[in-house]
Symmetry: C2
Subunit: 349 residues, 2 copies
Amino acid sequence: MAKPSGEVEVPNKQVILKHHVVDGIPQESDMELRLTTITLKAPSGSASILLKNLYLSCDPYMRLRMRHIQGSYADSFVPGEVLYGYGVSRVVDSDHPDYKIGDLVWGITKWEEYSLIKPPWQLFKIEDTDVPLSYYTGILGMPGMTAYVGFHGICSPKEGDKVFVSAASGAVGQLVGQFAKLLGCYVVGSAGSNDKVELLKTKFGFDDAFNYKGEESIDAALKRYFPEGIDIYFENVGGKTLDAVLANMKVHGRIAACGMISQYNLREPEGVHNLMLLIAKRIRFEGFIVFDHYDKYPEFLKKVLGPIKEGKIIYLEDIAEGLESAPAALVGLFYGRNVGKQLVRLSTD
Amino acid sequence: MAKPSGEVEVPNKQVILKHHVVDGIPQESDMELRLTTITLKAPSGSASILLKNLYLSCDPYMRLRMRHIQGSYADSFVPGEVLYGYGVSRVVDSDHPDYKIGDLVWGITKWEEYSLIKPPWQLFKIEDTDVPLSYYTGILGMPGMTAYVGFHGICSPKEGDKVFVSAASGAVGQLVGQFAKLLGCYVVGSAGSNDKVELLKTKFGFDDAFNYKGEESIDAALKRYFPEGIDIYFENVGGKTLDAVLANMKVHGRIAACGMISQYNLREPEGVHNLMLLIAKRIRFEGFIVFDHYDKYPEFLKKVLGPIKEGKIIYLEDIAEGLESAPAALVGLFYGRNVGKQLVRLSTD
């Protein structure tokens, strides 16, 4: 495709972080919409690309960027500036040799309708469009890779292992459970509503599931579902759940630390008390971040595209419409309002 | 050697646990000496052996056996009964085909002068007596193997790694530091007195060391010694030190959890708050117990016997004399009174 002649300036809505949020659940009022304009042109010599953002991904880790961060893998968002995160976009202009107009990409973009960016290293071209494009914010994007490398790469799973997944109906959890079932594991998930529990059991094929909000004691719930103990824990929540899990792990168990959403809104993280059990039970507790493992993305695609198209792996999305709804969708993650992977649709063309 | 003719009954002093000790540092008064007698004979058909105990080992993990334990690798000691633990012993009678009179062994025995036991699986024959026999309670026994498998097996060390060892002058720590130096790592240890710090620097060859009791903030001390962060932490203490270490680990760091002595005397373990950093820094935190790795004992002996005899690895022992001194020696571990590996000599013949 040829570059459009002339330079077109169009309106461009953005989501701005107003200020850092130290503790508590972030509110919509911590963000604001700003209407600006943008020229749909990648300036010559800039090696940049001009994206039209189609889908934006709401991910729990973004909470951490809303506070002052030190010593983490993620920088803080800058107050007064546009948020950024994973999304699916179409290239509308390019001054970069690797991208041409019309290319579809997923990766790090900004929370606005159009973005002029230098292609970050976390930007992948979308080749297969025989699946919903939105899947590249989820099952075929960062959360899918997270589930894949976290479960297969960190947990050393084998057939028959007893697997517990917290935040199990979320963007990552629902896949971890399905990957574990495909391998012949016994899988139980926890979630925060009875509807989510039903989904886990009926739609995602978990062997069992429970609503942690309905349990007096997570420890007692785990003892009920894992009378012989847990081989693998896929950790998405942290805090008290982690303590209860440690008390119910089997000897030589593995814990993949993917996230700790229960801690993200606290000024100081809760204390975890049962770490001596790491020794007694010889547990491996290992943190990971998906972007260390993106070299496995082609291998991952090859493994999951077929099963997705055949309906052997399913994926549930919770899609909010329009950039205006993005702040509420992001906030909703921390109230557990989303059912399945939360994302925002900006455009379908 | 022939069996002695006739059956000789001799006095046999024992150390008895009077009651479980839930919290606080155990006291000598929690134990008592009991004078009994024993017949120096392994009954025919019993498959047992009669040991004369020469050295008993005082090890921090024994604190855990003094309380009610659930779900651990170690059973509780039974109130009113003799304590047990690692020791070096001589076989004085045997009804077991694998042991003969005069054999020297190290492994699990009882805290008494003579023990009639069925050989436990943790009992190893001593072949090399060209080193002090007491070394088989330490550098050539359980603590030596612990340092070896914990450092080389769990920490994935490589030349140039920055290594931090807590309880660094203890039975295990002094060896971890030396193993790390032999590999070309930078090693800093913490200990609880200035004398121990001097030993670490002058005798054990640590690059540096500090007295944690003299530091206002462990975090600040670690930042001083590891301005670029820690690659490997050999965890012997737990609690606040662990939190400070987590804040100072490098990306892709490894923590071998060997013990958490700061927690053993507490009714409830302290909370550890910085576990989210396991994710941000992609840290592997792995507990281990030496007895899972005893198959490597011959390999270990082959590697360390030479360097020990050549003085390239040194080992410092703190030897108490006589079974009467055993309770005080054990209690002293938790006050940090021992300088080097604490053991008790019962007999030299």
